[in-house]
């Protein structure tokens, strides 16, 4: 009997692995999204914390520019949005939501920087499906994931966590949130954090 139970549980685990989570994927990407099974929620340890100066970086953007975090110092609050990978569920809908929510960033004097470890051509093709994005999209491809690693959000598989950092105009980290990689962080929470900085 025990043997049957164990065999049964093995089948259950296999079924669970292929059933996957609900992503609520937009039809905008048709059949071009690479479906993944549910992943380990977290796979890294943050190397920065609230109150720390945000490590500076310079990365290439799909616009052809090079963007440095420090160029916004004294001018804009900055939201860093690390998403794990192009052409995957959840990630493919997260930035179109932020694209729609531009007014919240404007109201709070914030710029959004979207970052993945994909290379520029991949990011270009992927973000073109999202419509015209108002924020810079940066490639942390080479040295692979070096910026993600400085912040402590590079996973052992080579993609990043689904992470948000809110950095004030003085360059100080005011919010650091690593979400379960399988779930999209809720917009209201991010807006609340941006508002907190605005009040200061």
């Amino acid at each position: 009997m025990f043997k049957h139970v164990m065999q049964g549980i093995t089948v259950v685990i296999a079924l669970a692995a292929i059933s996957g989570p609900a992503f609520g994927l937009s039809d905008a990407y048709k059949d071009n999204i690479y479906n993944l099974p549910e992943l380990k929620p977290f796979d890294s340890v943050l190397k920065v914390k609230v109150g720390d100066p945000a490590p500076d970086f310079t990365l290439p953007a799909i616009s052809g520019e090079k963007i440095s975090l420090s160029q916004y110092k004294g001018k804009k609050n900055v939201v860093l949005s690390f998403v794990p990978a192009a052409w995957t569920p959840v990630c493919s809908d997260q930035w179109p939501g932020y694209n729609l929510a531009k007014s919240y960033f404007d109201e709070n004097d914030a710029i959004l920087l979207g970052i993945t470890v994909d290379n520029l051509p991949t990011l270009y093709a992927w973000t073109n499906q999202m419509g015209k994005l108002w924020f810079p999209v940066l490639s942390d491809f080479w040295p692979h994931g070096s910026v993600a690693d400085i912040y402590g959000v590079l996973r052992t598989s080579g993609v990043t966590e689904r992470a948000l950092f809110v950095i004030d105009k003085e360059g100080i980290i005011r919010y650091a949130h690593v979400a379960d990689i399988n779930k999209r962080p809720e917009l209201g929470a991010l807006v609340m954090e941006m508002k907190k900085i605005k009040k200061k």
Partner: protein, 190 residues
């Protein structure tokens, strides 16, 4: 062979116990019935009046006093839903602006994986005036087979209270007149 059957039977029982939503999740089939979707009675008096609901608590879609209930499964994060929102508004205006349709076709939206905040933001951004409900934990979305968005479902409710799905398709409205014509035809409305 017997051992395999026993193992599979144990696996199935355990799976149903461990994952109660498994097996419920297929998109509604035209001609079939709508899976049981429980929604909260809106606090907003205007929505309550539009849906013909009273008091508090929850309701089931087929309980609405209408001949047809049209459900849009959308997401604030979905680029196609964003693009389609003005056309869906046009569809709603055409329904509410027609005396023969306004009490017979009711339109609601369900935000797959969207919180109350996100649904509210989507509604304000596009000036949407029909009732929209949040489904933050994807619970309704799972029951409906984890459809992509936007997805439209229409159910026809008979005077006897029985009902059936007459439309269940992936994709937006694109053209409000054509869409409305299709729904009317499928539901047998003049």
């Amino acid at each position: 062979m017997k051992k395999i059957i026993i193992s599979l039977a144990i696996a199935l029982n355990f799976f149903i116990w461990a994952f109660p939503s498994f097996g419920q999740g297929t998109p509604p089939v035209e001609g079939g019935i709508l899976p049981k979707i429980i929604l909260p009675v809106p606090a907003d008096q205007g929505y309550k009046k539009y849906l013909g609901l009273k008091g508090e608590g929850t309701f089931l879609v087929p309980q609405l006093k209408a001949k047809v209930v049209l459900i849009e499964i959308f997401s604030m994060y979905c680029p196609h839903c964003q693009k389609d929102a003005p056309v869906v508004n046009d569809l709603f205006s055409k329904i509410t602006g027609d005396d023969s349709l306004k009490n017979n076709i009711k339109l609601i939206g369900i935000g797959a994986g969207n919180s109350d905040f996100e649904v509210d933001f989507f509604r304000k951004t596009y000036n949407i005036t029909f009732p929209m409900f949040s489904d933050a934990e994807f619970s309704i979305h799972k029951i409906l087979g984890e459809v992509r968005t936007p997805y439209f479902i229409a159910i026809k409710i008979n005077p006897s209270g029985t009902y059936k799905v007459v439309y269940s398709k992936l994709g937006g409205v694109s053209n409000a007149d054509e869409f409305l014509k299709t729904i009317k035809k499928l539901a047998g409305l003049k």
